[in-house]
Amino acid sequence: MDLLTHAFTFLYQIGDAFSFLVLSACGLAVVFGMMGVINLAHGELIMCGAYVTAATTRAGLPLPLGILAGALAAGAVGMVMERLVIRHLYGRPLDTIVATWGISLAATQGTLILLGSSMPGIGTPLGSFAVGGYSYSTYRVVLMVAAVAVLAGLYLAFNATRFGTLARATIQVPHMAEALGVDTRTVYALTFGLGAALAGLAGGLYAPTMTIVPTMGTTFIMEAFVTVVVGGADIFLGTAPAALVLGTVRALLTTWQGQLFGQIGLLVAVILVIRVLPRGISGLILRERA
């Protein structure tokens, strides 16, 4: 096998791990970074996105629209959740953890009761391509592109739109924003909705590649948390580099020692990073910049 193939396989693996981490974490990062809320029901929002995507696609909608529907549905569910529960718990982060965990429990089992123990899959589109004797799923490359696109989109949303400005103002100096006539409650609700929609988007994007079951959220949640914690509060300076670092760590460990070490390595990484950088990678970058 020549060097180029080697390099490509390795980059493909890193890209694959990176896109999984970014997509599963970005919704959580928005909610945690902007609002300081730890949403343990994040995985169930991903599941919601996947279910809606699978259902609409099977009903005849083209896949991209199905994914969009999944994201919107999860976003709507997120807004409702914010209105009914999260809103009453601002400033009580530990209680939020407990409450969202309760939601997660009820949502998983409720889905099982309502929709059965599994949903038929929709199949991965776009086929495969070959490089140097290996074949790869084309759709996986689409996922990598989607991860980068989501990051870019978020950057624009927070830096070039009125909502972004208001959101950042609200989060940084809430009383000031309020004094300036910003409806901070709406901003919080929208931010949470955005985070939920991103979760739904992740679910929708991965729906064609996975078994669609009520418990599928749990396969995302740990990775999402690790990425957000390692990244710190800032999505662009934190989540993205964290996903890159962790993706590389995981790809290396998995190649070298198998999946178990890939998994445990992630957990050890999070412990070490918190110890060394209590505010995550973004904390480090921001400090250096200041």
Partner: protein
């Protein structure tokens, strides 16, 4: 290790307390129903494969009751949902044995759940049926195991596949007892048949992303891929492998027959998979068709009748025969005497099934199921009367001695 409290003031007090409560059960009269405890996961991770097990037991019980019961006694089911949670098995196993005082228990999907309740069954001298395909090796006089074990599934599947596709074998397996022990079986049988293991990879439970694994397999270029993946997360492998255009013939002991992946996944992700199973609803025989018709009449919404559902169904009939031959006794000792005779057999939907007296495991008719591009099933081969031979050969003989332990090929019974 002392098994009963003896000679002390406190334990005497305890015994007195126990006796003073009105729970010394009156001797069973002929008209009393026979109670069967059913502990299966109707919610949580495993519910997908196990709801059918409860239905199988209900179907058998209804049929038996309609035909007059067992030795004139009706069957009564005591059903609990164990929520895919080991601690629930522990709690409810105590409950069915102590409170409900069932005569036998039908319990457990995952091996962990079985190991969780087994000490309690042993301690309280219960009698339990484990109706699940598993990694094998349980040598316990309190247990009857009706599910297929690796030697039954692999000694049939692997030689057949190696003959057809080639001798280079790659295994991916769930990284826990079932996967590791099954992989050990694959390794041994491949070697016995002159094949070569070109790779082995263990995947932690709950992993859902397989790009690296797919690449490793491509690199090793096997003729046969054994997929011993477990759980809904790991099932994502097939979709991802198909998307990466990995077209190696797959063999498995656990897919299709348990989680009916061919029904759940978009074709052709499972194309070219070969599975040995003692039953699936596609099995094309008159007894199977009749069974399926009865099932669909009672449970029209059943998504699939898998091998564990059939195991559970036939287990009730095995129990019926034991009790009838023990002249209506439900005592464990009496039933084990019947088992020791060596001819407890029933005509199950799959064919004839008998209990091996040494290991108290069941012999099976093993069908080789092939999945095609459209996910339709065909059966290129069927083996009759495949014995669960390993435990007996390795030295487990429950007619002589009851070690109440689980063994593995690398950790066999000590002579």
């Amino acid at each position: 290790m002392p098994r009963t409290p003896r000679g002390s003031r406190l334990s005497a007090l305890a015994a007195a307390l126990l006796l003073s409560t009105p729970l010394a059960a009156p001797a069973a009269r002929a008209a009393d129903p026979i109670k069967l405890g059913v502990l299966e996961d109707q919610s949580g991770d495993f519910a997908l494969a196990t709801i059918g097990k409860v239905h199988g037991i209900q179907l058998a019980a209804d049929e038996i009751n309609a035909a007059g019961g067992i030795a004139g006694r009706k069957l009564e089911l005591v059903i609990y949902d164990t929520q895919s949670d080991n601690t629930r098995y522990q709690e409810f196993m105590r409950r069915v044995l102590q409170r409900d005082k069932v005569n036998a228990v039908f319990a457990g999907f995952s091996s962990a759940s079985r190991e969780a309740y087994r000490p309690i069954v042993d301690q309280l001298d219960g009698f339990a049926f484990y109706n699940n395909q598993y990694e094998g090796g349980v040598c316990d006089g309190h247990m009857v195991i009706t599910g297929a074990v690796p030697e039954q599934q692999f000694s049939t599947l692997i030689p057949w596949m190696m003959e057809k596709f080639g001798k280079r074998v790659y295994t991916i397996a769930a990284d826990y007892n079932f996967g590791q022990i099954s992989a050990e079986w694959v390794r041994n049988i491949v070697k016995e048949n002159g094949g070569e293991m070109v790779g082995e990879e263990f995947i932690p439970l709950g992993v859902s992303q397989f790009s690296q694994t797919i690449q490793n397999i491509q690199k090793a270029k096997p003729d046969i891929l054994m997929t011993l993946l477990v759980g809904t997360a790991q099932a994502s492998y097939y979709e991802q492998a198909a998307a990466a255009n990995l077209k190696i013939p797959m063999g498995s002991s656990v897919n299709i027959g348990q989680g009916y992946e061919h029904k759940r996944f978009q074709p052709p992700s499972l194309a070219n998979m070969y599975v040995t199973t003692n039953y699936i609803e596609e099995v094309d025989s008159p007894s199977s068709k009749a069974f399926l018709a009865k099932w669909k009449a009672k449970f029209p919404n059943e998504p699939y009748v898998n091998q564990e559902a059939e195991n559970s169904y036939l287990a009730v009939y095995l129990y019926k025969q034991m009790v009838e031959r023990a002249n209506g006794s439900t005592k464990r000792a009496d039933l084990r005497k019947v088992i020791a005779a060596g001819d407890v057999c029933v005509d199950a939907p799959e064919g004839k099934v008998c209990i091996d007296p040494k290991s108290q495991h069941a012999s099976h008719t093993i069908s080789l199921a092939k999945v095609d591009e459209k996910h339709a099933i065909s059966f290129p081969k069927t083996w009759d009367n495949i014995q669960p031979y390993w435990l007996g050969k390795a030295g487990c003989d429950l007619t002589q001695k009851d070690p109440m332990a689980q063994y593995t090929p690398s950790n066999p019974p000590k002579p």
